[in-house]
Amino acid sequence: MALARVTVWSDDMTSYASRSEAVARRSRPAIDESGQTFEDFYLHEYRAVVGLAYALSGSRAGAEDLAQEAFFAAHKDWGRVGGYDEPGVWVRRVVANLSVSLVRRRVVEAKALARIALGGTPPLPELSAADEEFWRAVRSLPRRQSQVIALHYLEDKPVAEVARILGTAEGTVKKHPHDGRRALAQRLRLEEDEA
């Protein structure tokens, strides 16, 4: 599995290089995917998937549970999912869809808060105000656009892979990075990087 790639959406190759390093730090070292066990897969992908859930749901308490739910679905059907070329694509699609589902997010958050109140596992630490504002702006974009932009920034995925993750046509995804970045820059009152 390629952990980080320079993508065709690039406006600025320097920034992409540093993003790629960040992606590599967030992911575990690459492993041979042929015949990998579910445990290998889980340990390899967990951190990136929780990050995606946190960014897209904005639910500090529920991000872990959203990721758990996606991995649980993979675990139940590992005979099939584990046979895919890239099971990580599948689990990201599940978590991306779960994270933007309002009902699912509320249910998961309520469960997580109840667990915390009963002395269970602690939630994710809170983001700084500036980071929270950025991800809130991402979430305020139309649903599909916010998924594309989150994958773009968090995982540095090229258009073709984002389309595979979201289970949609490459042509449909292509328009979102440009429109999404422009909308995001306006909402955050920032300059868009030079194309």
Binding site: R26, G51, Y54, Q68, H75, P125, A130, Y153, Q186, R187
Partner: protein, 210 residues
């Protein structure tokens, strides 16, 4: 600061949060498979509880819907012909207006469908993603005219969802977590009657209690 620089910082924020979470739970969280076994055993029980709660919520929502308990505040459509596939081709433009930005909308598989404007008491209200709320007269000039607004108001953040009208106030929420109430009878430029700072993302138009 540019967007990409800000984005890199925000990504690092997520990284740090996940890293701290892992450190704080790594000694307490059981092996993933053991965790899934426990999760699976609880899931069926939770599903039964969830199904009961959903059924109760649906029942309450149905009762409220039937009795008119929910209302987005729009006046009923003026009496007139219903738009159908057979007569939609006969519609003619009455007026149009220029806005300072896109109207928030719902993303479908192929396109974004803007939320429809809110019509109430002879006025049409619409907010934009550039943070402007407009009020237009519903009947505006001669056919094909460019309609000037009754008034405009500036918002902090982009308008999200459609405005709601109740009595003599129009309510609109923004992605900056603000809820505004404007008097409907403003002239040219409108200042809010009050601003609520919710500080969180909104997920629907404001609702009024009928």
């Amino acid at each position: 600061m540019t967007l990409d620089t800000r984005a890199r910082q925000a990504v690092q924020g997520i990284d740090r949060a996940v890293e701290v979470m892992e450190m704080s739970t790594s000694t307490k969280v059981p092996h993933p498979i053991a965790r899934f076994d426990r999760y699976r055993s609880h899931k069926r029980r939770n599903q039964r509880i969830g199904a009961a709660l959903v059924a109760a919520a649906l029942t309450i929502a149905t009762i409220l819907f039937v009795t008119g308990g929910f209302d987005r505040g729009q006046a009923p459509s003026p009496a007139g012909p219903v738009i159908t596939p057979s007569n939609v081709g006969t519609l003619r433009l009455q007026w149009s207006a220029r806005l300072d930005g896109a109207v928030p909308g719902q993303l479908t598989d192929q396109q974004t469908l803007p939320y429809p404007p809110t019509l109430a008491n002879g006025a049409v209200y619409v907010g934009t993603q550039n943070g402007t709320l407009y009020s237009f007269p519903a009947s505006c000039g001669s056919p094909g005219a460019d309609c000037p607004p009754n008034w405009v108001a500036h918002l902090q953040g982009a308008a999200v969802y459609a405005p709601t009208v109740a009595d003599d106030r129009v309510f609109v929420a923004t992605d900056a977590g603000k809820l505004y109430a404007f008097p409907t009878d403003c002239a040219s430029s409108c200042s809010p009657a009050w601003v609520g700072n919710v500080g969180r993302q909104f997920y629907a138009s404001p609702l009024r209690d009928a």
